[in-house]
Subunit: 308 residues, 2 copies
Amino acid sequence: MPVHTAHKVKLSDLGEFGLIDLLKKQAGSSFSGIRGIGDDTAVVPLSSKKHMLLTTDMLLEGVHFTLKMPARAIGHKAIASSISDIAAMGGIPKHALVSLGAPPSCPWTVISQIYQGMQRTAKKFRIGIVGGDTVKSKKIIVNVGLVGEARKEDVIYRSGARIGDQVFVTGPLGRSLSSGWHLRFAPRVNEAQYLVRKHKPTAMIDISDGLAADLGHVLSESRVGAVIEERSIPRRQKAHLKEVLYDGEDFELLFTLPSSAAQKLEKQNKSKYRFYRIGEIVPKNKGLRLKTSDGRLKKLTIKGYTHF
Amino acid sequence: MPVHTAHKVKLSDLGEFGLIDLLKKQAGSSFSGIRGIGDDTAVVPLSSKKHMLLTTDMLLEGVHFTLKMPARAIGHKAIASSISDIAAMGGIPKHALVSLGAPPSCPWTVISQIYQGMQRTAKKFRIGIVGGDTVKSKKIIVNVGLVGEARKEDVIYRSGARIGDQVFVTGPLGRSLSSGWHLRFAPRVNEAQYLVRKHKPTAMIDISDGLAADLGHVLSESRVGAVIEERSIPRRQKAHLKEVLYDGEDFELLFTLPSSAAQKLEKQNKSKYRFYRIGEIVPKNKGLRLKTSDGRLKKLTIKGYTHF
């Protein structure tokens, strides 16, 4: 944007991704680590063999949840969305920090149940909730910071997809909000570890902003295009195509494999995890296209859930 | 509290420390790490020689700051209060995660300046802001998660104060809010490192809830009492005794040293750091007492800034 009008710019003019881009530019060299702000997860060296992975997610009452939802489910979602970020990088979640804002009039049972939901999920993944902060606020705020680790060779970025790679997802997409899936989804830590150790994905991401937007992140970071097949994309509850492409909060993994590895995976696909081949990586100038059920190729716009 | 009335209990009935106590009890064994929620900083093993330190702080518009304050100072405070927590444990801050909530109508310049303030302070302490989250909210929210590290032998807990130890602080107390100190304070990382390496404090904490409350934390964790001397406590801007004891947000270190180490420190006290001896650790049954300027001993109530 022109510098002389910058002071008039509001966040709603920028959108979430615009804001993140500007923050990245402003940050410049003061950001350490291998990956910076705006990525799902930051990666910093931990030892000669391991990387540390760091991510944070903030959920707000009235924006991401309401108190009509079960409080335990809110707690689950708050930590599970961060677990999903760590999983998508090939990492194992380890330690969580929880900041909690709540009004003085808030019943203790609500807070207690939010924590119970968080603890149950933390326990399932052997995560320690090691610290936190509590503050007074008008609405409930839950912020989870999550620290994980990964063997250096296991870390997978968004930028590794290559022309000819096959595109997969780990489960059905669309209607996450209306079906309540966004409150009870299981972060794909085990699936990601299986993939990382047995099949070496070239790129991986979790679908939080919607298939089109998150595949879009992979394409732009990898400087490639893709064709996805309408018929091949698994759908939740007969979701419409638009819901499948743009709804968001599916928290399934999207990953790419070279075609030989893809064949091997599909042969082993009667094991305990399910993987769905939905398309192929193509040259960048082809952009992102959908092969419709009647065989036409349709250009897709890369948009998704945005927060501003 | 009796179980049958628990569902009627509001956070305002519990107070901040009551809430933290209940969360700790509920958490039970699901908390990993050496220290748990409610402490300034969590400590988890990192390698055979090092511990990882983790802390998080949430600042809210209308509670901890207003937009009448300089936006850069808000950013400084958001990260500096976490840096202070890590410093007080004997650690070096390394990586920060920043979650930001803001209304769509918020000018970009406000967010930009909050980040600039944060980055300047991060840079000064060689901290990388490695990741973050941005969400839509009614008021501005800044959450900083901070990861640090320390040599195992350098980590200092609140629980190590012993009878006969001398109590010190690193600077003047009181009137932090009215003087604006809370927006520009320098976290005592260097002072803490000097102390840890040269003088081995037995206990250390940063004063955020007020001298009486934070010394109170040390006394209860160490199972001891203390006498502090009205005349010896350094004051900011001729603060009244009540302000010195209860104001909070001083962000100075409070630490204890065995008397031989205290003598050594006072001899070296013409070096680049200033330390003020303010009292002595006594048996637990004596509680916390103040020796007034006219020589009387007065029992102090351990209260401080609470958030609910």
